[in-house]
C-alpha cells in the first residue's frame, strides 16, 4: 500500500506526514485542552519540516521566512490558547473540553 521511501526527501515527507497524523489524531481524540493545544503545535511543526525541506532543496529562502512567521504565530497561538484554557479552568475547575458548550447555537 505505501511505497518504501527511496530518497531522503521522501523519508522527510514520511516523517512530516506521520507527525501531522499524530497531531491530528491527538487533536481529535484527546479531551484535555492543554494536550489538544500541544497537538496543534505538532501539526504546525510537521508543516515546518516540509517547508524547510522544500526551501532548502530548491534554494528558495521564502520557505524559511514562512517558517519564521509560522513559529511566531504558533507562539502567539499557544499563549492565547493557554490564556483561554486558564480562564476556562477558573470557570469550571477543569480543562476537559467537553465541559465547554456555552457556544451552542
Amino acid at each position: 500500500m505505501i511505497p518504501i521511501p527511496s530518497t531522503l526527501a521522501q523519508w522527510s515527507h514520511y516523517i512530516a506526514a506521520c507527525l501531522f497524523a499524530l497531531g491530528l489524531f491527538g487533536f481529535l481524540i484527546r479531551k484535555n485542552g492543554i494536550v489538544v493545544l500541544m497537538c496543534i503545535e505538532l501539526m504546525l511543526n510537521a508543516l515546518n519540516l516540509f517547508l524547510v525541506e522544500v526551501s532548502m532543496r530548491s534554494s528558495h529562502p521564502e520557505g524559511i521566512i514562512f517558517v519564521i512567521f509560522i513559529i511566531t504565530v504558533a507562539a502567539a497561538e499557544a499563549a492565547v490558547g493557554l490564556g483561554i484554557i486558564l480562564n476556562l479552568y477558573r470557570l469550571k475547575g477543569s480543562v476537559h473540553v467537553d465541559l465547554f458548550k456555552s457556544l451552542k447555537g
Binding site: 491530528l24 481529535l28 479531551k31 473540553v97 467537553d98 465547554f100 451552542k104 447555537g105
Partner: protein, 630 residues
C-alpha cells in the same frame, strides 16, 4: 442699479434670518422693530426704483445664473417693470404698515420672533414672485408665499383646529400648484423658453405654435391661480385661513398673497389673449365666485369670516376683469382692494384686540364710542368697499363692471352677476358696520382703544382707501387722466370698448344706485340692532341655514373627495401594504428559519467542530488533488 433688485428680496430674507435664527428675541418690540425696519427699507428701495422707472420709463432687469441642462438655461432673473412696480409698492407699503400694526397686536406673544421671521420671509417670497422674470422663478416665490401662509395660519399650532386650517390651505394650494407646474411644462414645451418677455415675443411673432396647447397652458395657469386666489372650486381654504393672526389675514389673505393669482394671469396675459375660451371661463368663474362668496358673507357672524368671504368675492370680481381683457382694471382693483381690505382687517384686528379675542359681531355693537379712531377709519373702508364715490373702491369696481359690460368678450349676464355681487357686498358690509359700531353693546368684554401702534397704520391705510382711486379715473368723467392705465399700458394689453346698452356714465350711475340700494336695505334691517335680521332669518330658515352652512361646500368636498380618498388609503394600508409586507417579510422569515436550522450545527462542543473542520479539510484536499499524478 440692477443689483439693487436682489436687495429687495435679500433685505427681508436677512430680517427673517436675523429674527428667526440668530436673535430669537422674546420681546415683541425688538423682533418687530427689526422686521419693520427691514420692511421699511424694502419699501424705500421700491420707492426709489419706482421713481427711477418714472424718470427713465425703461424696465430694470438683473440675473444670476441658476442652472443649465443642455439647451435649457435658467437664471435667477428679476425684472422691474410697471406691473411689478405696482405690486412691489403695494406689497412693501402695506407690508410695512402691517408689520408696524403687528408690533402692537402681537404684544403678548411667547415667541414673537417666529411670527416676525415668517412675516419677513413672506415679504421676501412675495417680492420674488412679482420680480421673477420667468415662470420657474415666479414659482419659487409662489411656493414660498404658500409656505409662509401655511406657517402663519398655523402660527398658534397648539390649537389643533388652527394647525389643520394651515394644512388645509397648504393642500388646497397644492392642487392649484400641480396645475401651475403643468402649465410651466407646457409653456417650455411650446416656447422652449420660460421667461415672460421671450414667451410674449414668440406668441406675437411665431406662427409655429399650437393654439390648442397655448390654451391648455393658459387653462393650467388659471387653475393654479384659482388655488392661490381662492376661486371656485378651490376657495374653501381662505375662510379657514382666518385662524391665523389678524394682521396676517390682512397682509397675506387679503392684500397681497391671494392677489398672486391675479398677478400671474396679468403677467401671462399674452397667453390668455390667444385663449378666448379660457378667458371666458375665467370671467364666469370669477363672477359666480363673487356672487357665491357674497351670499355666504350675508349671514356670517364671525368678523373675520365676513371679511374673508368678502375677499373671495372681491377676488372674483378681479377675475371677471381679467376674463374680459381689462387687465389694468383688475390690477387697479388689486391695489384699491389692498388698501381698504387691509384697513378693514386691521380695524377688525384692533377691535378683536380691544375686546380680548371676541370675534362674534353679534356680541359687539355700539363700539363707535369705545373705538372712535377705528370707527372713523372703518367708515372710510366700508364706503370704499361698498363702492361709494369718490372712495377708491368706487373707481376700481366701476372699471371692472363697465369692462364686464362693454368689453368685446363681456356681456350683460357677467355684468348682471357682478353687479348683484356688488349689491350684496354693499349689504353685508353695511350690516357688518352697523352691527359693530351702532346700537347697544351686546358683549361682556371691556372694550378699549388700542395703542398708537395700532391706529397709525389704520390712518395711513384710510388715506389710501379714500384717495387711491383718484389715480385711475375713468375717461368718461373727464376730470383727471387715467394715470394707472397709462402706467401699465406698456405691460398689459388694453381692451376695446364696444357699444353696450349703457355708456360709461350710465354704468357708473347704476353701480352707485346698486350700492345705495344695498346700503339702504341693510340700514333698514339692522338700524335697530339684530331683531329684524333674526326675524328674517326665521322667515327664510332653509335659505338662512344653507348660507350659514356656507352652501355646505366643505361637507360636499368631504363627501366626494375626502371620504373616497380615505377609503383608498384604508384599502392601500390594509390590502396593498399587507401584500408588500408579506413579500418583503417572506425572505426575512426564510432567513430566520434557515438561521435557526443552521444554528443546530453549532453544538458548542469543541471537538465536534474540530471534526467538521477536519472533514471539510479532507474534502478540500481531496478535491485539490484530484487527477494529480504522484
Amino acid at each position: 442699479m440692477q443689483v439693487v433688485l436682489f436687495g429687495l428680496i435679500l433685505i427681508p430674507l436677512l430680517g427673517a434670518i436675523l429674527n428667526g435664527l440668530v436673535l430669537r428675541s422674546k420681546h415683541t418690540r425688538v423682533a418687530g422693530g427689526i422686521a419693520t425696519a427691514c420692511s421699511a427699507a424694502c419699501f424705500l428701495l421700491a420707492l426709489s426704483l419706482s421713481l427711477n422707472y418714472f424718470e427713465t420709463g425703461t424696465p430694470l432687469s438683473a440675473a444670476l445664473p441658476w442652472m443649465s441642462a443642455g439647451p435649457f438655461v435658467l437664471n435667477w432673473g428679476l425684472r422691474f417693470d410697471a406691473l411689478t412696480l405696482v405690486m412691489t409698492l403695494v406689497i412693501t407699503g402695506i407690508g410695512t404698515l402691517i408689520h408696524l400694526f403687528s408690533i402692537g397686536y402681537m404684544d403678548e406673544e411667547k415667541s414673537p420672533y417666529r411670527y416676525f421671521a415668517y412675516l419677513n420671509l413672506f415679504l421676501s417670497a412675495m417680492l420674488l414672485l412679482v420680480l421673477g422674470d420667468s415662470l420657474p422663478v415666479l414659482f419659487v416665490g409662489w411656493e414660498g408665499v404658500g409656505l409662509c401662509s401655511y406657517l402663519l395660519i398655523g402660527y398658534w399650532y397648539e390649537d389643533i383646529d388652527k394647525a389643520n386650517a394651515g394644512m388645509k390651505a397648504f393642500v388646497m394650494n397644492r392642487i392649484g400648484d400641480a396645475a401651475f407646474l403643468l402649465g410651466v411644462f407646457i409653456c417650455y414645451q411650446q416656447f422652449k423658453s420660460v421667461t415672460f418677455t421671450e414667451m410674449a415675443h414668440l406668441t406675437a411673432t411665431s406662427n409655429s405654435l399650437s393654439v390648442w396647447w397655448l390654451e391648455m397652458a393658459a387653462l393650467c395657469l388659471f387653475v393654479g391661480a384659482t388655488g392661490k386666489s381662492a376661486q371656485i372650486p378651490l376657495f374653501t381654504w381662505l375662510p379657514d385661513a382666518m385662524a391665523g393672526p389678524t394682521p396676517v389675514s390682512a397682509l397675506i389673505h387679503a392684500a397681497t398673497m391671494v392677489t398672486a393669482g391675479i398677478y400671474l394671469v396679468a403677467r401671462t396675459a399674452f397667453l390668455f389673449q390667444v385663449s378666448p375660451d379660457v378667458s371666458q371661463w375665467m370671467a364666469y368663474t370669477g363672477a359666480f365666485t363673487a356672487l357665491f362668496a357674497a351670499t355666504i358673507a350675508l349671514v356670517q357672524k364671525d368678523i373675520k369670516k365676513i371679511l374673508a368671504y368678502s375677499t373671495v368675492s372681491q377676488l372674483g370680481l378681479m377675475f371677471v376683469a381679467l376674463g374680459v381683457g381689462a387687465y389694468s382694471a383688475a390690477l387697479f382693483h388689486v391695489m384699491t382692494h389692498a388698501f381698504f381690505k387691509a384697513l378693514l382687517f386691521l380695524a377688525a384686528g384692533a377691535i378683536i384686540h380691544g375686546l380680548h379675542g371676541e370675534q362674534d359681531i353679534f356680541k359687539m355693537g355700539g363700539l363707535r364710542k369705545h373705538f372712535p379712531l377705528t370707527f372713523l377709519f372703518s367708515s372710510i373702508a366700508v364706503a370704499a368697499i361698498c363702492g361709494l364715490p369718490p372712495f377708491s373702491g368706487f373707481f376700481s369696481k366701476d372699471a371692472i363692471l363697465f369692462a364686464a359690460l362693454a368689453s368685446p368678450t363681456g356681456d350683460v349676464l357677467l355684468w348682471g352677476v357682478a353687479s348683484l355681487a356688488s349689491l350684496l357686498t354693499a349689504f353685508y358690509m353695511t350690516r357688518f358696520y352697523l352691527l359693530i359700531f351702532f346700537g347697544d353693546y351686546r358683549g361682556e368684554a371691556h372694550p378699549h382703544e388700542g395703542s398708537a401702534l395700532l391706529w397709525i397704520p389704520l390712518a395711513v391705510l384710510a388715506v389710501g382707501s379714500a384717495f387711491a382711486g383718484l389715480v385711475g379715473m375713468p375717461h368718461g368723467l373727464h376730470m383727471l387722466p387715467d394715470y394707472f392705465g397709462q402706467l401699465l399700458s406698456p405691460v398689459l394689453p388694453a381692451w376695446q370698448e364696444t357699444h353696450a346698452f349703457l355708456g360709461e356714465i350710465g354704468a357708473m350711475s347704476v353701480a352707485v344706485a346698486v350700492a345705495a340700494l344695498g346700503i339702504g336695505t341693510a340700514f333698514v334691517i339692522y338700524r335697530k340692532g339684530t331683531g329684524t335680521g333674526e326675524k328674517l332669518a326665521r322667515a327664510f330658515s332653509p335659505l338662512y341655514k344653507l348660507l350659514l352652512g356656507k352652501w355646505y361646500i366643505d361637507e360636499l368636498y368631504e363627501l366626494t373627495i375626502v371620504l373616497p380618498f380615505k377609503a383608498l388609503c384604508r384599502f392601500s394600508s390594509r390590502i396593498i401594504d399587507r401584500a408588500i409586507d408579506v413579500t418583503v417579510l417572506f425572505p426575512a422569515r426564510l432567513a430566520r428559519v434557515g438561521g435557526t436550522a443552521l444554528s443546530l450545527v453549532q453544538v458548542g462542543a469543541v471537538q465536534v467542530h474540530l471534526w467538521i473542520m477536519v472533514l471539510g479539510g479532507l474534502v478540500l484536499l481531496w478535491w485539490a488533488l484530484r487527477g494529480l499524478v504522484v
